[in-house]
């Protein structure tokens, strides 16, 4: 018997095991929403903006391992998702985003709320398509979930014209789908892997560079076993942080632009770099000619196109991280790396990470409290200085403890992503680290968190500046703080070189703002208040809480490497 497209849509989602849809209404998805109203298997979460919506779905997907599902209307609803889709594309987060579309007969007519969203999303999705025939709807949805979740995961956009939603057609939802142009890598070339291992075994100063692919492949245990067996030290990318427990004696720290001194020096001095699940982003390599100059490089990645794109590697291996590590573990032997480890430890003693402790509250102190208090929480960050501090000072020991926008660097990501993580994990504590800039980019989601009863703990680092850029202005642009001070008003002098006594007051008052949403607000200005604030925050189980940490404006993220410079040239003070 034939059924309407909207009925098949809901049936498809149910068969995919979807329990939550992040949806914002509009003229061209009302039919689907009406169908969702009639069932109670799938929960519909209404955000306050479609960008927040996609970030919520990302946080949900990252923290649960499931596909995040978005539903928005045509036109502005669809265009508002683009930043989120690009973010998910960069960080390989499985999403299926359904957009409503004007009826087929109106496409191309500049109809009300018509945009060519598939055209716009083409470069920032793994796959995007408009459903043009009702009989294709089932297969297309099946394809979307399959493509989003397999291989290197990513976002898929399915555009559904309104008349397809209402038209009658086949009721079947396929249980599997064959796509002739889509064959994700599921094996590993053992010969290549053997070559890689031989190289690693012969190395005197071997180093493992682990990226976000370890988390995606859920290969953390495998990597840890491999590391412990071989005694090879590990550095991570921002996305790879937590690939092995940060407290492990063989873990050095993050490498890259704001990496740990010893980690970056180790990369520049190693003789074999075993990289897995990373794509050698410019934030990791710096000057390509100076990247790991003494090393033979092994590169394991599931995406063929990631290999030998930025860095020409000696042994490429196309494979899922877990499959490769499983095989490597069969061969792994213990290496004597003691003198190499001692050298790394020496570098770490030369320049350990750390901030001043002589006056006032520093971000490091806040993270130290967090590390003591939240054993198993999900941490989510926004983008900016606080994000880099989080990757420097947070201690992690569980595979999905840190969710952050690494590739696209999307300000406004953190808070909605934390809400999504909380919705997906109601029994876990979710702590969001954000800045006063990024928080305001999706602050309307306060309402979402309140109505969803999502008691996210927001640690707002308020330094009154867009600090990451402010820091660049301080170092490289003669302290000309153009467009980075969030206290600046028309009445300010034009040649401001930094904060002073006469600065205008900050706006908004974040504590009052939180309370106006029906959430909780706490302001902390002294180190002594940190512990009590967290204690109070953890006692709220009904609504989110914003802890505003008022920190110094001139706290910088160090070490720091200027974009395009070699990673060994770190600014340390």
């Amino acid at each position: 018997m034939d059924i309407t497209g909207r009925k098949l849509f809901v049936k498809a989602l149910q068969e995919e095991g979807v329990d939550t849809v992040f949806a914002y209404p509009g003229g061209n998805v009302t039919d689907i929403l009406d169908e969702l109203y009639k069932q109670d298997v799938i929960d519909v979460v209404l955000p306050r903006h479609e960008q927040g919506l996609v970030h919520e779905a990302e946080g949900y997907a990252k923290s649960t391992g499931k596909v995040g599902v978005c539903l928005v209307t045509s036109g502005p609803g669809a265009t508002n998702t683009l930043t989120g889709l690009a973010d998910a594309h960069y960080d390989s987060i499985p999403l299926v985003c359904f957009t409503g579309q004007v009826p087929l007969s109106l496409i191309g007519n500049d109809a009300f709320q018509e945009v060519d969203i598939v055209g716009m999303a083409r470069g920032i999705t793994k796959y995007s398509v408009t459903v043009r025939r009702r009989e294709d709807l089932g297969r297309t949805i099946k394809m979307a979930f399959h493509i989003a979740a397999t291989g290197k995961p990513g976002p898929v956009l399915i555009d559904i014209p309104k008349d397809i939603q209402t038209a009658a057609g086949p009721s079947e939802y396929p249980s599997s789908v064959q796509i002739r142009g889509y064959k994700p890598n599921e094996g590993v070339h053992v010969g290549q892997l053997k070559k890689a291992y031989k190289l690693l075994r012969a190395a005197e100063r071997p180093l493992i560079l682990a990226g976000g692919g370890i988390h995606i492949a859920k290969a953390n245990d495998m990597l840890l076993q491999f590391v412990e067996k071989t005694q090879i030290p590990v550095v991570t990318t921002v996305m790879g942080k937590g690939a092995v427990p940060t407290a492990h004696p063989l873990y050095i720290g993050n490498s890259g632009m704001h990496g740990r001194y010893a980690a970056n020096i180790a990369v520049s001095q190693c003789d074999v770099l075993f990289s897995i699940g990373t794509r050698f982003n410019d934030r990791i390599t710096g000057d390509l000619n100076e990247f790991a100059p003494k090393a033979k490089i092994i590169h394991i990645d599931v995406d063929t196109a990631s290999i030998s794109r930025n860095v020409v590697v000696d042994v490429p291996v196309v494979s899922d991280a877990k499959i490769a590590l499983e095989k490597l573990l069969e061969w792994a032997e213990t290496k004597d790396t003691e003198s190499w480890l001692a050298r790394i430890a020496e570098w770490d003693r030369e320049n350990p990470p750390g901030m001043r402790r002589d006056h006032g509250m520093t971000p490091q102190m806040i993270f130290e409290h967090v590390n003591r208090i939240f054993g198993s929480a999900i941490y989510v960050t926004d983008v900016g200085q606080h994000q880099m501090w989080a990757t420097q000072y947070l201690e992690l020991d569980d595979w999905h403890q840190l969710i952050t926008s690494g590739g696209l660097g999307t300000m406004g990501f953190g808070f909605p992503a934390a809400i999504g993580a909380k919705i997906g994990n109601p029994d876990r504590e979710v702590v969001c680290f954000t800045g006063d800039g990024g928080f305001q980019m999706n602050i309307q989601e306060m309402a979402t968190a309140v109505v969803q009863g999502a008691p996210v703990i927001v640690c707002l680092f308020n330094n009154q500046y867009l600090g990451m850029v402010r820091q660049m202005q301080q170092f490289f642009y003669g302290k000309r703080y153009e467009a980075t001070c969030l206290r600046r008003r028309r009445s300010c002098p034009a040649n401001c070189k930094g904060p002073g006594e006469a600065c205008p007051p900050y706006t908004p008052d974040f504590v009052a703002l939180a309370e106006s949403y029906g959430a909780h607000g706490i302001r902390v200005e002294q180190e002594a208040g940190i512990g009590a604030a967290f204690e109070e925050a953890r006692s709220y189980t009904d609504a989110p809480v914003v802890i505003e940490f008022v920190i110094s404006s001139d706290e910088n993220v160090l070490p720091m490497v200027r974009g395009g410079n070699p990673m060994s040239e770190m600014i340390l003070k």
């Binding site: 598939v118 470069g123 398509v129 196109a305 794109r309």
Partner: protein, 165 residues
């Protein structure tokens, strides 16, 4: 940097051409020509693509094409024995009777057809290799004051292998 050829089997669907060409513009790959048409299987189109690139970029182009869901198969034609032709129309305008004779002589030498003719003009229809077409255009441009050229981009197919002959 040199010219390289790719044959691409893709799904015959709306938007696939835009996606493929978008890859070239989005990633700053140097696209020389692209032709597309359906194959013996109506659901599949075949593109013939010419790019100018170095070795590393060319590898990357092939990988990027391969990872597109709509791309069924990527064939590198760079070092494969090929049959390759490009259609070209060249109109020669404002010519005298004597010059018209010259056009006919050129047509004879290049083995192309004079497919239309007017009081002071002639139309050449050429089915040559892309390189031969380039040479013909260069010659016409040197010899005549006004020419009008339209070309279709090359299509290529692998030669029948010697073992099959």
């Amino acid at each position: 940097m040199k010219n390289r050829w790719i044959a691409l089997y893709v799904e015959n669907q709306v938007g696939v051409l835009a996606k493929v060409s978008g890859l070239f513009s989005g990633k700053s790959y140097n696209l020389q020509s692209l032709t597309v048409g359906t194959t013996e299987d109506e659901s599949v189109s075949r593109m013939t693509i010419c790019v100018t690139s170095d070795d590393i970029t060319f590898e990357q182009i092939k990988k990027q094409l391969n990872r597109m869901v709509e791309v069924i198969k990527v064939i590198d034609l760079t070092d494969v024995p090929l049959h390759m032709k490009e259609i070209l129309f060249a109109k020669v305008l404002n010519i005298s009777a004597e010059e018209k004779q010259e056009v006919f002589r050129i047509a004879q030498v290049f083995h192309v057809e004079v497919s239309d003719i007017g009081r002071d003009s002639a139309l050449l229809e050429c089915m040559l290799t892309e390189r031969r077409n380039n040479e013909l255009i260069a010659l016409l441009r040197a010899k005549f004051k006004r020419i009008e050229v339209v070309r279709g981009g090359a299509v290529a197919i692998e030669s029948i292998s010697t073992s099959c002959r």
